[in-house]
Symmetry: C2
Subunit: 770 residues, 2 copies
């Protein structure tokens, strides 16, 4: 969805006008008053019965007013207004349904975590769940305090396949397994262990929404032409995790069309796949539109003759509520024209309110989560977690030995660049709230007692760095080290805005070149999305490069902990770093993953298919050296392994989730620093349909604090689905053939096994409408 800057201003104004900044609408009163008489308040009934009782009490007009995000409720029966649209991508954030008190006082801030791309770079599932839990707790606290709803439009699980995508850092990267695991642990953390949901999480954007605006196409009018193979193997996999496996409370349908049908009017996506194939029907989960997406159906996709018709199409196809700023759908028109029927409206309302019932929204103090409040926001432990996640995710891309810095209290640091000491929102990235504080790198260096000089720098500016040069040279002249804080901010890329280039901005390169003349060690710490770092890698004057993405409220201390060696870098790239010319080789609108030749030639997308990256997915340097070894297991040492025997004994109704024997890997720290180590296990080999991918991530884990000389054993959990492939009809299949397990990126050790036997279909993909 879009957070228009005009909205942000408007909402800030509105907030200041309201009492204490609160939304002013209470949770329902089931203890007394009008609503108490309705069976929705009867906690001895099942949630579906309670929801049905509520919906039955509404008049037609009231019903039609409650299937948009800004629901009016029904004062006649005591049902309060409610805005379903809240946001919490990496902490409770601004949204029409979420406000922050201005100034001091309760609910004026929330914990700001790194952007999901940096969270994901840690390859630490447990960390994701912890972050999700903090965000869920703070989100529910904001809801209980009536500064927010308790339905949050997060996480964003569209795989980040094109480096130019403006919203890629909202996601956990380009790899399907990584995205699935992020979705699993983030949703689990957000919604809690159940049965009551802490908040309702929303996996978005369903489906294939991964660019903003390119060459005349925008997400509002784009028809993503996606093969069944790519759809099942890549674009929908994260949603399978959310819906089928994690039973998430809500899904958001996307702006774009998929294979001719706008996502929010797409029966194949919402009914055939989501609700039927994935059986996403328990707990009456609901589908919200992306915000204003309903209007796109007629206005931009021209799929309906009128907004009324388009609106009806969406509800009839399975969407349950229209997210919008005001009323950009035409629900009244759809109703008047008889296109929208009572049964569909009632079902939507039941799903929506059953979702709220399952959060305890109607249960007052008896709700499991009723006691969450302002005291649960910005807890020291949560703030520590934000710092820890920033440290864990940052990726060391180059190091000639300069890092960790050998500093003493007398060391002098030049901290140069646009985000070296920016106390604004540079560290936050998109979809942010107001953090309790923002600690810049300069702030952190000062805390550590170093003598520092700072100078700002260019961001996207082209041409020379002359405008910034004098102050930069002044800062650098006496320094022992030059720490350059460059890269990109959200002016380069974000919602509605894709990048046209992945080159470093020329003014920054010029500034670095000028600083290089000083012959001092230069460390580049890179904010934002990936760039082609070749000029930095090739320059002898630049000693190290650390990628920091958007690291959140403690991004400064996180950087300094790594540069000083207080912590060791162990993050891995969750995306491929492409060469700059990649943007001229592939159209953003080309949805194919596999390489192709001919008129629409493509070199392929993601590390699975694109062979010559600058730095591959999974890459990351350490301050020490590790030697991984694959131990023997029943999988890799069974010379008579067959597909049928791999599945024998599994009773899961989803065969792709059948466990494989855990992969035993032993890792020795053969260097001199204590460090985490991410074990990445890829699968390659000749099995399944051609072309064969270069490799595919099949398992990973993060081992913590391995000491020099220590040998640590790990057993990587994986499933049959992790070594399966998809055929051209989208079926998930376990194929006979040769398999290679490749450890690390680049490969450090490998083991081969051979699977014989027949092809085994793990998941039959539903055929699209004829």
């Amino acid at each position: 969805m879009v957070l228009l800057s005009s909205f942000l201003v408007a909402s800030a104004t509105a907030t200041m006008a309201s009492a204490q900044g609160s939304l002013g609408t209470p949770f329902p009163n089931c203890a007394s008053g009008l609503l108490a008489k309705n069976q929705v308040c009867n906690v001895t009934l099942s949630p579906p019965e309670r929801a049905a009782a509520l919906v039955a009490a509404l008049t037609n007009d009231e019903k039609l007013q409650n299937i948009i995000s800004k629901s009016k409720g029904a004062s006649r029966i005591g049902l309060p207004a409610y805005n379903w649209w809240s946001e919490a991508l990496h902490g409770v954030a601004y949204a029409p349904g979420t406000q922050f008190r201005k100034g001091q006082g309760e609910f004026n801030s929330s914990t700001s975590f790194p952007m999901p791309l940096l969270m994901a770079a840690s390859f630490d599932d447990n960390l994701m769940e912890q972050i999700g839990e903090v965000i869920g707790i703070e989100g529910r606290a904001f809801g209980n305090g009536r500064y927010s709803g308790i339905d949050y439009w997060t996480p964003n699980v569209n795989p980040f396949k094109d480096p130019r995508w403006g919203r890629g850092s909202e996601t956990p990267g380009e790899d399907v397994l990584r995205v699935k695991r992020y979705a699993k642990y983030m949703v689990k953390g957000l919604e809690g262990p159940g049965p009551e949901r802490r908040v309702v999480a929303t996996c978005k954007h369903y489906a294939a929404n991964d660019f903003e605006d390119w060459n005349g196409a925008t997400r509002h009018n784009f028809n993503a032409k996606v093969s069944l193979q790519d759809l099942a193997e890549y674009y929908l996999m994260p949603f399978q995790q959310c819906a089928r496996d994690s039973r998430v409370g809500s899904i958001m349908c996307a702006y774009n069309a998929v294979n001719g049908v706008p996502s929010c009017a797409n029966t194949y996506l919402m009914q055939t796949i989501l609700r039927e194939h994935w059986n996403w029907t328990d707990h009456s989960n609901y589908i919200t539109s992306d915000c204003e997406a309903v209007q796109d159906v007629s206005l931009n996709h021209k799929y309906a003759k009128s907004n009324a018709e388009g609106t009806a199409m969406c509800f009839n196809a399975g969407m349950d509520t229209s997210c919008e700023y005001d009323s950009s759908s035409d629900i009244p028109g759809a109703w008047r024209q008889g296109l929208l029927k009572a049964g569909v409206v009632d079902q939507a309302l039941k799903r929506l309110y059953e979702g709220l019932i399952r959060t305890g929204y109607f249960d007052g103090n008896t709700s499991t989560y009723a006691n969450l409040g302002w005291d649960d926001v910005n807890k020291p432990k949560s703030q520590e977690l934000s710092l820890q996640s920033a440290v864990g995710g940052m990726v060391l891309l180059k190091n000639d030995g300069a890092l960790p810095l050998r500093l003493s209290k007398a060391s002098k640091l030049a901290m140069i660049g646009f985000w070296a000491d920016d106390a604004g929102d540079k560290l936050s990235g998109g979809y942010s709230g107001t953090p309790a504080y923002t600690h810049t790198p300069a702030w952190a260096a000062r805390q550590l007692g170093y003598t520092i000089k700072t100078a700002t720098g260019p961001v996207l500016e082209k041409g020379s760095a002359s405008k910034w040069l004098a102050s930069a040279l002044t800062a650098a002249r006496d320094a022992d080290y030059i720490l350059y804080f460059g890269g990109l901010d959200t002016s380069a890329a974000g919602e509605t805005k894709d990048r046209m280039t992945i080159d470093w901005p020329t003014a920054q390169l010029d500034l670095l070149k000028q600083l290089g003349q000083l012959n001092k060690p230069i460390i580049v710490i890179q904010l934002g999305d990936q760039l082609d770092d070749t000029p930095l890698f090739d320059s002898a004057n630049i000693n190290a490069v650390l990628w920091a993405n958007w690291p959140g409220q403690d991004g400064g201390p996180a950087v300094m902990q790594l540069l000083t060696g207080a912590k060791s870098p162990a993050g891995r790239l969750p995306v491929t770093q492409y060469p700059a010319n990649y943007t001229s080789l592939v159209a953003m609108t080309d949805m194919s993953l596999r390489p192709s030749s001919g008129a629409k030639a493509s070199p392929g997308r993601t590390y699975r298919w694109y062979p010559t990256p600058i730095r591959p997915f999974g890459f990351g340097l350490h301050y020490t050296t590790f030697t991984p070894t694959i131990l023997n297991s029943s999988l890799t040492s069974d010379i008579t392994l067959t597909t049928t025997n791999i599945l024998a004994g599994c009773t899961s109704s989803h065969l792709d989730t059948c466990p494989l024997p855990p992969l035993p890997v032993s890792v020795r720290n053969t260097g001199n620093a204590t460090s985490d180590y991410v074990v990445l296990a890829f699968i390659a080999g000749e099995h399944g349909p051609k072309p064969y991918p270069i490799k595919t991530l099949a398992a990973y884990t993060r081992l913590k604090d391995i000491k020099p000389g220590e040998q640590r054993d790990a057993k990587l959990e994986w499933t049959v689905g992790d070594i399966a492939r998809h055929d051209e009809q989208g079926n998930t299949v376990l194929y006979p053939g040769t398999y290679e397990v490749l450890i690390d990126q680049p490969t450090r050790t490998a083991q081969r096994f051979v699977v014989s036997g027949p092809e085994m279909v793990l998941d039959k993909w539903p055929a699209p409408p004829q």
Copy 2:
């Protein structure tokens, strides 16, 4: 295909004009002469290399003259003319490529077996293979003698789903398993054990060709609308057996269209399913059109604008030769217009001639089958087999104890009815040759020394039997028994002619009624297709009914062996006997198997779906009583049986062929006659998609000569596919759920087992073109 009566006359005339009736065209001479120089004669090369060498030597004009059934060869290089169209449905038969010498001498006759429907009623796989072998040997002998080609358009494996179909008796009945097994053993018998093929068999008609002419629709213009589920589960299953599992040499594409595309121009059927999914590409198997079907594409289906275009469409879709009387395709036109390309023609020729190379056609006396000749035709053992198969297939439908007849040498028999002593072709059915003899029931009775009187009777005549009554009564007056030989002949049903009613012809019923007045035992022996036998079953005057279909050259002795008790009946109905009103309930053009309600309501088709037959599929009485018992097995007694464990250890690339633990059944003969017993094992229960079939045949075997008091154990072989079902996309799936094994029809004993675990896809069905 059609054997027009005009053709039969014409060919008979032509034959009489040719020397000795031989076709006059020799096999190729690879020993010397023009062809000997071509590498097609080099037996050290592989068949594909030999075929390629031959095709490379042909001019364009020659090539175009050899992709029709009546191939001209190429005299320039010594390639003889060859007619690919020979027939051998139940013995070598008349066809444009097959001639019989008139009068005495070599190749004036062939062994005539019962029609396949009666063969199939024996449920005796080994018998099918023996029959196939005899037909293959005689077919090759006719070929070697140049009275025939060695490519035979047989077997007919379209499942016989509608009782009205004129060609149903060419098939082994309505049940898929029965058809598959027939196809398997018949093809194996015909083509031989390999590597050389005795003859090339042709499974026909691909696909969904199972009516002739109904209510304005004919097979030449009909578009069969078939669901993927019915296609995969029913209509194509026999072809899967032929192509995928039996690697038959040839397939014939049908006249009708399937889901909008004429079968012979149907890329989905011929390329996607047949050659890709079933991998029917080894040995360069070929596809022939049904005869004149190419012309239908433009003329009747209006699928092409011209015959030239339609012709090209067929070849381009994968058909390799056009079967026709003369030249009803437009190959020259397709070529001139550039619609038919050299590559396609060459591929077709290579497939066709590689097929012949693999029969030893080019190898003179070195061919495995070169020595087969007239001495191998009509062997006593083959003739005995024909008799034995007629005995084995006949089904006792009613018996009040009158059978077996208690005869002495003094017994007097009235043998009444149109086929009691018809020495013509009444016993033969469709697609017949000239048998060495035809032994009628009266002939057999005379041989046995009984005193008989005969009278003919009506066939299809309506109204009273007055015309036949006097002679019938004369014959019956002094008789001890009245044996009534009625039913239908080929004037009721056959190629191009479906039945409009399945009632008994009224003149026959009248004759039986009049004979009933005599108060003598009446035995009805019914020729031809099933009728609603209710009037016979309900009549106390009719003591027994024996269904004899078309029993072939020894049909008379077969009947008499059963009536006298020399042999015991053990055949089972291979089709459902429907009530007469069935014909008003279901359109022949309705391809759905499952029952439906609403405007196009249907009570369902075949025993799997139709609940209230007169006599069900599998029904058949004996002269003794049998008590079957299901013994325990690892399948039926494992309380933790899972789908994954059922497949464990199987390494077949076609999971439906994975063996199940054989089903142990013990059968005791508890009566007084020695008899064969067909063990039928059906599967029922709640598993897989609704609606659930009533039951499905999953295994069977025929136990021979069980003596009174004897207990015989059998282990029924079956596979996972035999208990699997098909989903709506056509996938074959092993489902968890409850299963019941039901023995016999009606059920005599049952055992239940439960399968847990996930759904396992055994075969992914290819999606049709979007």
